[in-house]
Every structure is written in C-alpha cells, then in structure tokens.
C-alpha cells in the first residue's frame, strides 16, 4: 500500500513549469534586446532604424513592426523603419527572430 499523491500536485508542478518557462523566456528576450539596442546606439529620442530578421518577413512580422514606427520598405530580411519609438523598439527587439538593429539616416 502506498500514499496517493494529491491530484493538485501535478497542477502546481505544471503551473510552476509554465511560470519558470515564461520567466526564462522574458529574461532572455530582455537580454537579447539590450544587446541589439546597445550595439545600435539607440537613445531616448525617436530615430530611424534598419531591423534585420533571420528570414524574409511575412505579414505577421510586417504588422508587428508597423506598430513601432513608419515602415518604409522591406529588402530581403531588412526592414526599414522611420520615427521608431525607442520604448516600442526595446519591446519589439525581445523577439528572437530579430538578428540586428542598425541606425539608418532615413529618407
């Protein structure tokens, strides 16, 4: 005869696993964004940037990037944006599919 585990133990374990995964994911995203933004020298004011993705963007990515600034054009994996809000850029750059952020003089 053995003691049966309480049924909610696996619920608690699953919840803990979800929380840890989300926490780790968020922390990684913030570090990733900080690295990209410091390399691009992003300041506090709005600016123009080129975001290089790890692939040619689809509608999903274009829609998301349109939300952080004026999307001017897309060349291959490069997305050219003007008047980008730095706070929004920091949020967007947490995505693992953004490989590089570069300043751009704009047009």
């Amino acid at each position: 005869m053995t003691q049966r585990r309480h049924p909610l133990l696996q619920t608690a374990a699953a919840t803990l696993a979800v929380i840890v995964t989300i926490g780790a994911w968020t922390a990684w995203g913030r570090m990733h964004a900080a690295g990209l933004l410091s390399a691009a020298g992003v300041g506090a004011a709005k600016g123009h940037y080129v975001l290089t993705l790890t692939f040619a963007p689809e509608g999903f990515h274009v829609t998301r990037l349109q939300a952080i600034g004026r999307l001017i054009e897309v060349h291959g994996a490069d997305v050219f944006l003007m008047d980008v809000d730095p706070v929004a850029l920091r949020d967007a750059a947490t995505a693992y599919w953004i490989k590089e952020v570069r300043p751009w003089p704009g047009r």
Binding site: T2, R4, T11, F55, F60, H61, A95
Partner: protein, 272 residues
Amino acid sequence: MAGSLAAPAVPLRRRLERPAKGALGILLFLLAWQVSVPLVGLEPYFYPAPSDVAAAFADLVRKGILPVYVIDSLERYAVGVAIGTFAGIVLGVLIGLSATASRLLSPTINFLFAIVEVAWIPIFVIWWGYGYKTILIALTYVVFFPVLYNTLVGVRTVPQPLINAVRVLGGSRRQVLANVVLPAALPSIITGLRVGAGFAFRGLIFAEIVAAKTGLGYLIFEGAQTQQTARTIVGMISVGLLWLLIDRFYLKPVERATVERWGLVIEADQRT
C-alpha cells in the same frame, strides 16, 4: 483526506504500458500517413505529409509566429473560460435557489441555449467589431451554458436534510449557501467547467477565424486561404495538444480533487 487515500502500488512497467501503447498507435498512424502520400500522389498543399507538417511547425516556431499565436489564443481562452464560468455559477445558483428567478430566467436561457455561438458571432462583430471583445464574448457564451446547467443540477440535488440540519442549528441563508449548497454542488460545477472548457476551444477557433488577426484559429484559416495546408494542420494539432495538456494538468486534477473532497468517494480502507 484526499492525501490519505491509499492505493496499491502499481509496478512501473504496468504504468508505462498504456502511454507506450498510445504512442505506438500514434507512430503507426503517422507512418501510414507518410507512406500514403506518394501513393496518393497529390500536391502537398492538397495532401501534405507528416514531414511537411513537421517542417511547417519548425518554420512557424523559427519565425516566432506559433509561440505568439499560442499565447494569444491561450490568453483569450483563459479569460473567456473564467468569465463564462463565473457567470454560469452565479446564475446557476440563483436559478437553483430561487423559484422566482427560475420562472423569470429559465425560458430565456433555454431559448438562448439553442442558439449556438456560431450564429451569434456575426452579430457580435457588428456590435463590437473584429477583435478581442467579440472573441471574448463568444467564448463566454460557449462556456456559460454547460456551467450553468451543471451548477443548477448540483444545487437542486443537494440533500434537503443537510440544508435542514444547518437551518435547525441556526445557520443563516448565507451559511447554508457557503457551507452546504456550494460545497455539495461543486463536483457538478467542476464537471460543467470541464465540459464548457472543452467546448470553449471550438468557440475560440471559430471566433478567431472570423474576428481575429492572430491566434490558432486565424492560423488555421490563413493557412487554408494561402494554400499552406501544412500550417493549417499545425494549428489543428496545436489546438488538440493544448486541450490535452489543459485537461490533463488542470481540469482533470481539479475535478478529481473536488470529487474526493466533496463528492461521493469512499476511502479505500473504509469500503470493506
């Protein structure tokens, strides 16, 4: 009480036997599917192979699309199920305890029960537009009825002697509700929640097909629209897997814990 339930130890081999057989069944199905593709000889957009679906899955993850859609769908699902459950319990208890409320609300609720959420969604879109609100209201609507009817059954089948006992001891209506009616009805309420949560996925997918630009329902629809059928199948498999995980790790354990705590369960060592 639940923690003290005793059960005979099951050998590891026997415990693994069932999932192993299940996994073998899935493997055989995938193998038959993969082998059938060259035999059928249709274009991948018409009849994709499991390997195409796996490639589409990897592509959706690599591009960050699937994680975002899963999170969006889960968020809508959780909020819709929570609101629908709350509304179902409140109205179920009210109708179950009050004859006046029952006479007043039952005809309307019975009438609305027959109108499925699919019929409402176009109206919801007109009223609240495409997006979060419409999806949430459609989901709430789907979850509401199973929870309400199960709560009603639970409340109406509370043994009267239990209620009388508390009343005789001077218990107020609130004490009867909190200490007798709700605990006694809880197993039924949880069953209603489980049924409603299962239906909620159907409502979610349909609402996202009609009213969203993200989410698994949208992925399923967009994949079919753009002839990326493998993506549609990834969306379908994701929905199925999410439901299995939610049921396995949340709904089933909560139902079991509730039944063991408040339901008609006899401890193993008291059965003899």
